[in-house]
């Protein structure tokens, strides 16, 4: 388990836990909840912002927020 900003491009993971106090509610409402699947689609230069697919939503967030999302990578099948 590690913070989301360390995920590799194209890697899929499951959201393990989130630090509610530091995450915008909007992100949670867009599906950033423990148990949902997350994948990193693209990175802007300097690995910031991050372009993600969370559950069914496609969205971009900044690195400083991504640190508060802990994920567990899924094995490639």
């Amino acid at each position: 388990m590690f913070p989301l900003d360390q995920l590799a491009i194209g890697q899929k993971a499951i959201i393990e836990s989130i630090e509610t106090d530091f995450l915008p509610l909007k992100l949670i409402e867009m599906g950033c909840l423990p148990g949902n699947e997350i994948s990193l689609l693209h990175l802007a230069p300097f690995r910031d912002p991050l372009y993600l697919k969370i559950d069914e939503a496609h969205l971009a967030i900044r690195k400083d927020v991504a640190r508060y999302i802990m994920v567990k990578p899924l094995m490639d099948d």
Partner: protein, 698 residues
């Protein structure tokens, strides 16, 4: 007897809500502002049948009822205030067929407010391509409402929606979520404290950290005790509410919604790989900017020249057709040229919004934000600020209007405030004449000094914009906490109707709203330049004719002398002389002072005004230059020398010398406060840098 009903369109951004609005109302719409704030208010009307007319309100896009921005709080405020004249009889929640799950979160919240709520599933034309199947009947049963599949692209479903709206009274108002399942103790206590009130509405009022401007607080007298719960606890409850809602939505969709991913074709990843590529992404964006720049700088110049000459001809024509007198002058020189000064901006505004609405409609704009965010956030600017800042190099008016697309108020305000620093095309004539006067036309290592100076002026404008943005970023407090969570929508072909309506609406609102301010100021400036107190002004012709009676002047020369004398003794001339002590340390005389004041109408007027003062023909550029080069100070030295020239260029680079920009900033920020601050601080910056330049170089 026609029956009016209020309909509110609500939905997440990027669900095509505005397309539905356009499909319902066509051009029967008007865009205004909510009183006191700068959120756009879009209203329209639609005849549902012979006896029913719907007043349709297109509410700002929102992801949920937990507002985190001014736009979103408008939605919550309206839906909680039954006394608001816009309070909907029926709410229409517009969703996107591909993001139904996330969109339904908002739907269930609206439904729980016990307002009749219709669900529109938009972009149904995508269903087959994306392999989506929906059991509509079952969905209606589970969501306890009517569901309509709509495709604005294929124009289907809109008639059915109208039928449902006519019969809105038959829609159930039963809520979906029982708030006590979120936290039993908390909500039971709340229920005891405020019996007979909807728990969900109470909860909404308690948790919003936005300021309710319209909502009467008395309705929930002592909600404070429930607010004193720690913020973090309330947020946990909000999170639990979200989880609960998703649980029931997932359950409902499991029985009604099927996606066959095999059938889906993925346009998104193919385009993304190119458009946000670390290298090619920026190249493509740069190319797009280049085309936009080309359009507003170059293509616009054709219609603009035409508008310019047409208004000049109209002005001449009026002078020949009407009896000579003050009224004719007012119409020909005040009103007609004032109107010309408004209409001239239309080509640039229309071109810029043509491009911007296409970029927004296709979903590309979100990619721009993604690419540019990191570079611009340090300065308090948004990724979307790039387009206004670049268009500002053509003209600040359309650029300021283009900031509408920046969602975050603080980022938008900073962009508006710094855009006028970029070198707009109206500064060019001023720079050109000054450069040719004071900068030698020599080369150093093959580089022309004059060209170098012009480039320096462009750079200094950008630099000043960036520097002031970072200062403003420190100074300004944001009214709401805002986070960077940007949805990356699917790529779509732009809908022609939406693009056309945007271009039309932007142009219309500029002409109507900013236009009246521009017209008023230009009439005022005309008045000040055409009238003056005292004998000297009224007897100008006599005085000059006598003075030059010994010299053999032809009619034209005499006319120019009279015009110059009149301007000197007009109100503007007197004002120019009054400010002379203030501008003397910058290296200017009262004649330049007059030109500074009258160029408030538009910067390029500077050159024309000087021509009048020096009593030379306005159109003879070489003559003006020669005359300016020959102009001397009292000690016999050249007036337009290097120090004065540089000082003037810096003044024009930084000063807010443009009434039209002020008018549009007033319109866009919905108050005189920001244009006031802008005028004041930019003038100070301009004055100080011109002062420094002159005193150092002198």
């Amino acid at each position: 007897m026609i029956k009016n009903i209020n309909v509110a369109l609500i939905g997440n951004p990027n669900t095509g809500k505005t397309s539905v609005f356009n499909a319902l109302t066509g051009l029967n719409q008007k865009v205004g502002n909510y009183p006191g704030i700068t959120v756009e208010k879009k209203q329209g009307s639609c005849r549902l049948d012979r006896i029913t007319k719907a007043r349709i309100l297109d509410l700002p896009g929102t992801y949920s009822l937990n507002a985190s921005s001014m736009d979103e709080s408008v939605v919550v405020e309206l839906l909680l205030n039954k006394n608001d004249p816009d309070f909907p009889d029926v709410a229409v929640v517009v969703t996107d067929v591909e993001n139904l799950k996330r969109n339904l979160l908002l739907f269930t919240q609206i439904k729980d407010l016990e307002i009749p709520t219709v669900l529109v599933i938009n972009m149904s034309d995508q269903m087959q391509r994306k392999g989506i199947k929906i059991d509509i009947e079952k969905l209606e049963e589970k969501l306890i409402t009517s569901v309509v599949l709509v495709s604005t692209r294929q124009n289907s479903g809109v008639e059915k929606l109208k039928q449902i709206l006519i019969d809105y009274r038959s829609i159930s108002t039963l809520p979906i979520l029982d708030p006590t399942t979120i936290d039993q103790d908390y909500f039971e206590n709340l229920g005891k404290a405020f019996p007979n009130q909807s728990l969900y509405k109470l909860w909404l009022v308690i948790t919003q950290d936005v300021n309710f401007t319209k909502l009467e607080r008395q309705k929930v007298p002592d909600s404070t005790q429930f607010k004193t719960q720690s913020q973090s606890y309330l947020k946990k409850l909000q999170q639990r509410e979200t989880i609960k809602r998703y649980q029931s939505i997932n359950q409902i969709l499991k029985e009604t919604y099927r996606v066959n991913r095999e059938e889906a074709t993925d346009l998104r990843s193919k385009l993304d790989n190119l458009l946000i590529h670390k290298f090619w992404g920026y190249v493509i964006f740069f190319m797009i900017l280049l085309i936009i720049f080309q359009a507003i700088f170059d293509w616009s110049s054709v219609p603009m020249d035409f508008i310019d000459s047409s208004f000049a001809r109209m002005s001449e024509w009026i002078k020949t057709q009407m009896p000579a007198g003050i009224l004719t002058d007012l119409i020909a020189e005040g009103v007609v040229s004032g109107l010309g000064g408004i209409v001239i901006f239309i080509p640039q505004i229309a071109f810029l919004f043509l491009f911007i609405s296409i970029l927004e409609e296709t979903g590309y704009m979100s990619r721009v934000v993604f690419l540019m965010d990191r570079g611009l956030r340090k300065f308090g600017l948004s990724g979307k600020s790039v387009v206004p800042l670049i268009s500002g190099t053509a003209c600040a008016i359309p650029a300021v209007m283009a900031t509408r697309n920046i969602e975050n108020w603080k980022e938008r305000l900073i962009t508006i405030l710094v855009v006028p620093f970029t070198t707009c095309s109206a500064r060019l004539p001023v720079y050109m004449i000054l450069i040719s006067l004071v900068i030698p036309n020599d080369r150093l290592l093959g580089i022309n000094y004059q060209g170098l100076t012009l480039m320096g002026l462009y750079l200094i404008g950008f630099l000043m914009a960036i520097v002031s943005a970072s200062i403003l970023n420190r100074l300004l407090k944001s009214p709401n906490k805002s986070y960077f969570v940007v949805e990356m929508p699917n790529y779509k072909l732009p809908l022609l109707k939406n693009v056309a309506i945007t271009v039309w609406e932007k142009t219309r609102s500029f002409v109507v709203e900013a236009g009246k301010i521009i017209l008023a100021i230009s009439i005022l400036l005309w008045f000040m330049a055409s009238f003056g107190p005292g004998e000297k002004f009224s007897n100008a012709e006599q005085i000059i004719t006598q003075q030059y009676s010994n010299e053999a002047l032809n009619d034209l020369e005499l006319e120019n002398k009279i015009a110059s004398f009149k301007l000197e003794n007009s109100y503007i001339g007197i004002l120019g002389k009054t400010i002379e002590p203030i501008i003397l340390p910058l290296g200017y005389d009262w004649k330049i002072g007059i030109a500074l004041i009258s160029s408030f109408a538009a910067r390029e007027v500077f050159v024309g005004t000087l021509a009048t003062i020096y009593s030379v023909e306005r159109d003879a550029e070489e003559t003006i230059k020669t005359r300016m080069a020959g102009e001397t100070r009292s000690d016999g030295s050249r007036l337009f020398n290097l120090p004065t020239g540089i000082s003037l260029m810096l003044f024009y680079a930084f000063a807010m010398q443009c009434m039209s920009t002020l008018a549009i900033v007033k319109k866009e920020t919905n108050s005189w406060k920001w244009p006031g601050i802008q005028l004041f601080s930019m003038t100070i910056i301009a004055y100080l840098s011109a002062l420094m330049a002159y005193q150092i170089l002198k």
